[in-house]
């Protein structure tokens, strides 16, 4: 396996509606509103 694709909604168009759009009850809530988002760069690069 050499390409993981995170099961999440990448579409979070506005900043004043948090936590943003999700895929209903499914997937990671993996977006810029995650509490550790600011720290995630070394992990996702």
């Amino acid at each position: 396996m050499n390409r993981p694709v995170i099961h999440t909604s990448v579409h979070v168009p506005v900043d004043d509606k948090q936590p943003g759009l999700s895929l209903f009850i499914f997937g990671q809530y993996f977006n810029r509103n995650e509490s550790w988002a600011e720290l995630a760069k070394p992990w996702v690069d």
Binding site: M1, V5, H7, P19, Y29, W43
Partner: protein, 145 residues
């Protein structure tokens, strides 16, 4: 098995056993062939005519009866498996391990050099995962094909 079938279904299955060997195999083989050619094949043809690249799953979890995962994913540019999140106690769903190995086999056999996995899928668990929790799912993917 014959006795149990008779008890549960109320008739003798013996006369019908030859149909399992021949007809059921042919019936499922036909479904598998048509899924590969008429669904995966046609969508791949239309996508490629429009310069699109396809990521496509096939059997995923508990659907091996649908057909031949190798053939279905042969018609895709990026064969993709799935690994859902799981608790440490229960471990990963075994069909998903099989799905990942299958997708790696497709890539090896048919020459796609990227092996893709829908990753870290959860349900009913908003904001429940830190990087420490997620790492082991990706680690498992990396070592499974």
């Amino acid at each position: 098995m014959i006795e149990q079938f008779r008890r549960l279904r109320g008739y003798d299955p013996t006369p019908w056993l030859p149909t399992l060997d021949r007809f059921l195999y042919d019936f499922r083989r036909t479904l598998a062939d048509l899924l590969a050619s008429e669904h995966y094949g046609i969508i791949a043809k239309v996508a490629h005519e429009n310069a699109l690249i396809l990521y496509r799953q096939a059997l995923k979890d508990h659907r091996p009866m649908l057909g031949d995962g190798m053939t279905m994913r042969n018609a895709t540019d990026m064969p993709i498996a799935a690994l859902w999140t799981f608790g440490r106690a229960e471990g990963p769903r075994q069909p998903l391990i099989g799905d990942m190995k299958g997708v790696a086999s497709v890539a090896h056999l048919y020459g796609q050099n990227l092996v893709v996995a829908e990753s870290m899928t959860a349900s009913m668990a908003p904001w429940a995962f830190a990087p420490k929790d997620l790492k082991r799912f990706i680690d498992l993917e990396l070592v499974t094909g």
